[in-house]
């Protein structure tokens, strides 16, 4: 039998995923040990797991280096890879939103010189250009996006908001909601066909655990 390979987004998401997989009958003991291994194997079920930076997970899956990936919807939307998105795992739940100081609200609706700072330029341009039909200037940042409106780099930001406490501490509020976000299971297009039975069985087992 061939190995079924999983790419998981590093961190909390991967831990939650492995708990879920274990309860569904797809455990990986090697992952619980502390080691410097990059690939974790369950020889009995012929499963391989590896951890990757979230934004790389869709890439691994698109090219078939991994058959299955678990990653946030935000990354899927941003990376725009050619994948099957088959399951909402529910955890890692938050929202993609436009945020800024409260007085940016007015500008948001009329200003055509609006500057938007974000780690998600594709999601931001999709939202403003296609959904709101508004021309804006998008500034790509790589972290601490909340800083941008505070120091005057942009009027608003597009980012994920979990509880909103980081925003609040910095005097920002959610101005518009873009979409809800949570962890998703994605599958390579070819794997879905070539390993149809195994993957469907896995999806059903996980789905059952999700209730």
């Amino acid at each position: 039998m061939r190995y079924l390979t999983f790419a998981l987004a590093k961190g909390r998401l991967a831990e939650q995923t492995m708990e879920l997989f274990e309860s569904a009958g797809y455990p990986c003991e090697q992952m619980k040990e502390k080691s410097r291994k990059l690939i974790f194997v369950n020889e009995d079920l012929k499963l391989k797991f590896f951890l990757a930076k979230a934004s790389d997970v869709p890439t691994y899956v698109e090219y078939g280096a991994a058959d299955i990936g678990v990653v946030g919807k935000d990354t899927i939307l941003e990376e725009r890879r050619n994948l099957y998105e088959v399951l909402n795992l529910g955890f890692g739940s938050c929202r993609m939103a436009v945020a800024g100081p409260i007085d940016s609200k007015e500008k948001l609706n009329k200003s055509c010189n609006l500057r938007v700072a974000t780690k998600y330029p594709n999601i931001a341009s999709d939202y403003f250009y296609h959904k709101k039909k508004q021309t804006v200037e998008i500034i790509k940042l790589n972290g601490s996006v909340e800083l941008a409106p505070i120091v005057g780099l942009s009027e608003v930001i597009v980012d994920i908001v979990e509880t909103g406490s980081t925003l609040k501490e910095n005097g920002l509020v959610v101005l518009e909601e873009i979409c809800p976000i949570s962890a998703r299971m994605v599958v390579n297009r070819v794997s879905m066909k070539m390993q149809y039975e195994r993957i469907t069985k896995l999806i059903e087992a996980v789905k059952e655990k999700l209730g």
Binding site: G64, A65, L83, R184, V190, M194
Partner: protein
């Protein structure tokens, strides 16, 4: 800028002798099957007018095309897809009387793929177009040909997924959805985005069983049973017709004896404005993308002035060969097997013997390294040439196996006598 001299641009690459031999070998195998089914090879230009590729049915988005101007100001495009030029050629050249037309091609296509994605921008396609007939027999013939081409290329673990765009179009019609809503559903179904589809369908006004069917569409793939499953859930004429056609094509494929490689996917709904009937894709292990893309495109030739139905497919040769390498399927092609070494005196005998060996099917390289036998042996080892024929003088010949170092002494006459008897006269 100096560095540019040393490198190829992103997305294009050199093929070294070994890689090139493998590619040509696979291409040759596939071409033989194409010819055996009566498809004649054609060539179209490497660049054409932009208008050939840019149409509303647009198989390739303009941003992925390499475009430039000629001196008159017309926009030219590097061949972005093989099918439109062949449709243009067929529509302009042939008449109704000459149908059906069976054409095949081997050629490079050029697409401006995104940077840093490891995607080639110049890649080779091998494919066929069967023009002038719209029937289940034609559809099945082309699919069976795709299966046989992959088999002869050397892979055995692959699968051809068949869908029918009319099934989806019929369902959308029955549901009375707008084009925009249809497009949204198409995208969600194509991505097997179960979650997004459910949200979208909830917002649309669609009744019970139909809603259930649309929600099921991304899951309607697998063996024959999916056709029955789908049949039970629709009364739409177009959709039922599409299912019956699929059923019939499958029966013909059974007669071809290739059903083992066939499966169905009713959720295969890409490029709906291009394909007009059956649509299929081939998959194998070792590559994350499809290795065969095909389908029926009855509207395309009309764009070039002659309405003719057509069906065809393209094999992505680079992907296929990559997958074969990863599946560790050896592709044996030719290599030099004999090195001809001679002295000034024996030049005439050596050269004429060399030609005789070549005509017997051997691959013979004339040594340019002189008479030093040891030098020639180490060269042959380095290049993996199995045998050396050393013409010591006008009479005496040494046959040396460079692997075992076994040496046989013989004469020019003996050698020629043996050559006319066997294919591999030297026994090396």
């Amino acid at each position: 800028m100096k560095q540019n001299k040393l490198h190829t641009p992103e997305g294009v690459r050199d093929l070294l002798p070994e890689e090139c031999a493998v590619k040509l070998e696979v291409q040759k195998r596939i071409e033989t099957v194409f010819h055996r089914y009566g498809f004649y090879t054609v060539e179209t230009p490497t660049f054409e007018y932009y208008e050939v590729f840019a149409n509303e049915w647009g198989s390739i988005q303009p941003k992925y095309m390499y475009k430039f101007f000629d001196r008159e100001g017309s926009i030219l495009t590097l061949r972005a897809d093989m099918t439109p030029p062949i449709a243009r050629m067929a529509a302009a050249t042939y008449t109704q009387k000459q149908m059906p037309l069976r054409l095949c091609y081997f050629g490079n296509t050029f697409r401006y793929n995104e940077k840093y994605q490891g995607k080639l921008r110049e890649f080779t396609q091998a494919g066929v177009e069967l023009i002038g007939v719209n029937s289940n027999d034609a559809d099945a013939e082309v699919i069976a040909l795709a299966v046989n081409s992959l088999l002869i290329a050397g892979i055995t673990e692959f699968q051809i997924d068949i869908g029918q765009v009319d099934f989806f179009i019929g369902i959308i019609e029955e549901a009375g959805l707008t084009d925009q809503e249809g497009e949204l559903l198409q995208e969600l179904i194509d991505n097997k985005d179960y979650i997004g589809l459910e949200e979208a369908v909830e917002e649309m006004d669609i009744d019970g069983t139909l809603k259930e069917l649309i929600l099921d569409l991304p899951k309607l793939f697998g063996s024959m049973e999916v056709l029955q499953k789908a049949r039970a859930k629709t009364e739409n004429h177009k959709a039922i017709n599409a299912l019956e056609k699929l059923q019939n094509v499958y029966e013909i494929l059974c007669a071809y004896g290739v059903e083992k490689y066939i499966s169905f996917d009713l959720g295969m709904v890409t490029r709906l404005n291009y394909y007009t009937g059956i649509i299929f894709r081939g998959y194998t292990y070792g590559t994350g993308v499809s290795i065969v893309d095909g389908g029926r495109y009855d509207g395309l030739l009309g764009e070039f002035g002659q309405k003719q139905p057509a069906v065809g497919f393209a094999i992505m040769l680079n992907e296929l060969i990559g997958a074969m390498e990863r599946q560790q399927i050896p592709i044996l092609s030719w290599s030099v097997d004999t090195l001809l070494v001679f002295t000034k005196n024996s030049l005439k005998q050596a050269l004429s013997c060399g030609d005789i060996l070549r005509s017997e099917g051997m691959y013979v390289e004339n040594s340019l390294l002189g008479e030093d036998l040891n030098l020639n042996i180490s060269y042959a080892e380095e290049k993996g040439i199995g045998g050396i024929v050393f013409f010591e003088d006008q009479e005496r010949v040494k046959l040396i196996n460079t692997v075992t170092r076994e040496t046989i002494e013989t004469t020019v006459n003996e050698l020629l006598k043996q050559a006319s008897k066997e294919d591999e006269p030297c026994g090396i």
